[in-house]
């Protein structure tokens, strides 16, 4: 356990030292979300209707933007070799790195959501439901992304390959995430969608470290 915490504190420190990169991801999220109202025009009903889906898509693209670096820096400077033969099991190492990735990219996005959703004229209640949906769903984005990041290590076009691999896998989260926020807003029960979002995250919490570990072992060989 102490090795796990030690890894987390190292990853947090590295992320904090490069916090300008983290700000870029939040700015990217805000910018993508701000583009849609320009394209569609000031139809407030339409904007409110598309807001949950658009914000989810923007969040997914932002998470993808950061996920490429998840293992790449360690792979390039040789740290990954040492971590693979180190005492912390590879699956836990991946979990530690993914957790820090979520805290440093997805969590700021969720916090920025109330500000960004002003453009869409969303009510406070709607923003609350959307943030809850993102809180439940975004961990699965980081976890699924970790598999893609591990699989594409050592390929020349990793940055483009990861979205191609991972975006299709994001579809269920996108559907349930957007529907959950929408139906809560329409006064229907959002519980089934939120349960499904949580279920996807739990499944990925188990599957992603195993899959990414296998891919990492292949990558260092």
């Amino acid at each position: 356990m102490s090795l796990f915490l030690r890894q987390i504190s190292r990853e947090l420190r590295l992320a904090f030292r490069q916090r300008a990169d983290l700000m870029l991801v939040v700015l990217f999220f805000a910018l993508v979300a701000a583009l849609f109202p320009f394209a569609i025009g000031p139809h407030s009903n339409l904007l409110i209707r598309i807001a949950p889906g658009v914000l989810w898509v923007a969040a997914m693209l932002s998470v993808l933007l950061s996920i490429e670096r998840l293992f790449l820096a360690d792979y390039e400077d040789g740290t990954l070799d040492l971590l693979v033969i180190g005492p912390l099991p590879l699956e836990l190492l991946i979990l530690a790195k993914t957790l820090v990735n979520w805290v440093t990219t997805a969590l700021p996005l969720i916090i920025a959501t109330p500000v960004v959703s002003v453009i869409y004229g969303l009510s406070g209640e709607a923003v609350g439901w959307l943030m809850l949906a993102m809180l439940l769903g975004t961990p699965s984005l980081s976890l699924t992304g970790a598999i893609g990041a591990a699989l594409t290590l050592g390929t020349r076009r990793g940055g483009i390959l990861i979205p191609l691999l991972v975006l299709p896998l994001y579809v269920p989260t996108l559907i349930f995430g957007a529907l959950g926020a929408e139906s809560a807003l329409a006064g229907l029960s959002a519980t089934p969608y939120f349960l499904l979002l949580g279920a996807i995250t739990l499944v990925m919490l188990f599957v992603a470290p195993l899959a990414a570990a296998a891919a990492l072992r292949q990558a260092v060989e």
Binding site: R6, D77, G78, D81, I85, P87
Partner: protein, 217 residues
């Protein structure tokens, strides 16, 4: 009984066999100098022993037990310094080293061992300096400092004397001698002549696989 022993090891990279039927054994306190032409598999052999690359044939045994039976126990007792220095530019010299020091529980003890390691490699003055500002030779020395905080018995060094000036090389050889005197073993690849006591040699060219032209066609 040999401490570390490789028997009939073979390794393939990208479908091509790099070496085969490679056998070596090291007693307590001995050093193995691995030499050979470029591409003869020196780095591959070190990575194979570290467990990063799988052997296609043969067995590796440590303290009489097959390494593949309990790889984690063997890996806990080895320190590998490869070509890449595994240093983070955004961390200070001390922070970079501290992460790899797993031998000490208390912070005070850890601080001591890190200071000693940095001092031995003439890096103590740079303790709080950002690693980004170090020269190539200083970076390499910092990577080597991991050996001193690892408390591992088996050291695997990939061309450790590259990028070091003659003073630093002498320092490195002193450290290697000290490790041998304490009963540790070192396996290192090199192109230059290194004079160390209780030193064995392994020339990889002897284990190269000769590809016959007619077999390729």
């Amino acid at each position: 009984m040999p401490l570390l022993q490789g028997h009939a090891l073979a390794c393939s990279r990208g479908g091509r066999e790099v070496f085969h039927d490679l056998t070596f054994s090291l007693e307590v306190g001995e050093t193995l100098l691995i030499t050979g032409a470029n591409g003869s598999g020196k780095s591959t052999l070190l990575r194979l022993i570290a467990g990063l690359v799988r052997a296609s044939e043969g067995t590796l045994s440590y303290q009489g037990n097959s390494v593949s039976d309990d790889r984690a126990a063997f890996q806990a007792d080895l320190c590998y310094i490869g070509h890449a220095d595994a240093l983070k530019n955004v961390l200070s010299v001390e922070e970079n080293l501290a992460f790899w020091d797993r031998s000490h529980s208390s912070f005070a003890e850890q601080g001591d061992s890190i200071a000693t390691a940095l001092e031995q490699l003439d890096l103590l003055a740079f303790r709080d300096v950002s690693t980004r500002l170090l020269s190539a030779g200083q970076r390499h020395r910092l990577a080597l400092a991991r050996l001193l905080v690892s408390s591992a018995s088996v050291w695997l060094l990939d061309e450790p004397s590259v990028a070091l000036d003659s003073t630093s090389q002498e320092k490195l050889f002193d450290i290697l001698k000290g490790h041998g005197n304490k009963g540790g073993i070192t396996l290192l690849t090199t192109h230059s002549e290194i004079d160390l006591p209780r030193c064995k040699r392994l020339t990889l060219d002897e284990f190269a696989v000769h590809h016959h032209p007619e077999l390729i066609w």
